[in-house]
Symmetry: C2
Subunit: 211 residues, 2 copies
DNA sequence: GGCAGTTTCAAACGCTTATTTGAAATAATT
DNA sequence: AATTATTTCAAATAAGCGTTTGAAACTGCC
């Protein structure tokens, strides 16, 4: 039995389970078992399962932010540099194997599950970041561009790390070899390559908008 | 009451529901109601819910393939051209609004749900395509490249349409404006832009591998 | 030590949902 | 028309799971 308080044990135990299986497929029974707590502990301490889930989000997003910090926006370092920093930060987080690494997994699971807290989590944790990226992309393009086209481009840029996360998560039955991205391999050149791809895409679009 | 056979009505009714809500959140009760069939119809005709789900996959992947056909592989048209055709085919399918358009939605839902048929569906419908893309990307790069790097690049390329699909599916609470990609808008320039992004990324990586 | 407040516990409740059942209705076959 | 096979039906079954409950154990305070 750990010396932590029960609430902390529950959050810590729930995090990897929610990140692995998503909200719906995770049972409070298994969380309580993993936390060495009684079946009623979740409801007693958090009211219900959904509130615990929201606490896990708070916990993991904070962990990820602390582990891979980046400038608040692109104004100080410039659009291109900030986009690079953003992408690298996300990629390192995806491939890291400690608590912070659970954050992308959790987000990925939430992406196509409609949990009771979806709206709230989305607005609190995802939307602000997305707007920052959009602004940086806008600045990077540096010229007139349709709203829709800018949104599309932002989605494409974000998609680079999002889909990589997705592919990485399912490594067990991936037909390719993404599971080789492990701590046993030097991921630097891989991250470099992804950066090249993403920025290359942005540049090509910028170029096409000029002509 | 339709004149179709009950099995066909069940598949046709189940397709949009599974595509919208995923396997787990879909109940056989609502499928039967939508198909104007009795609650026991699914088990009688398909054995269980999972088998009906597999039939829906068969049905929708066939519909998508028929609606947006592409050459079997890149050997006839060349790697770059085939990759363009592949991407366009996928994008048009994502944005189309009839039955074929349900296929990407279904795939998207399956992506992070572990349904009883996951392995089987993955091997039958997803893996072969992925290998074709990988081969085309390999050819496009046209030089020595690490296995892992090639897989990564393939994932990046695939990710362009996958994440776009993801973003499009959740248009309702998307903080940006992806929901504007509707039939009321001319999607041609948007598809062009995505193509520019994806191919631009590939070219930049190819260039970097040369140096 | 005694007491109030807090936390833990095992059992039970209530709800949802996939599946089964056995009879009734319908279709096919002779 | 009669018999058999197939399909439909409403009700029942069974299992999973979030939540509640009320008693027991524990903690801090006087």
């Amino acid at each position: 039995m750990s010396t932590q308080k029960t609430t902390d044990r529950l959050i810590a135990a729930a995090a990897p389970i929610f990140a692995e299986k998503g909200y719906r497929e995770t049972t409070v029974a298994e969380i309580c078992e993993a936390a060495d707590a009684n079946i009623a502990a979740v409801n007693y301490h958090f009211g219900d399962k959904a509130n615990l889930y929201a606490e896990v989000w708070k916990f993991l997003t904070a962990a990820a932010k602390a582990a891979f910090p980046i400038p608040e926006n692109h104004l100080e370092v410039g659009a291109e540099q900030w986009l690079r920093l953003f992408l690298r930060s996300r990629l390192e987080c995806i491939f890291c194997e400690d608590t912070a690494g659970l954050c992308p997994k959790l987000i990925f699971k939430e992406m196509n599950e409609r949990t009771p807290k979806h709206e709230e989590l989305f607005l609190s944790y995802l939307k602000p970041n997305r707007i920052r990226v959009r602004n940086a992309v806008h600045d990077f393009i540096g010229q007139e561009i349709e709203e829709t086209q800018l949104d599309l481009l932002t989605q494409n840029f974000m998609g680079v790390h999002i889909s990589l996360n997705a592919g990485y998560q399912k490594h067990k039955n991936d037909p390719l070899h993404l599971h080789k991205f492990s701590k046993f391999q030097n991921i630097r050149p891989l991250i470099d390559q992804v950066e090249t791809f993403a920025l290359g895409g942005l540049k090509e679009v910028r170029k096409s908008l000029n002509s």
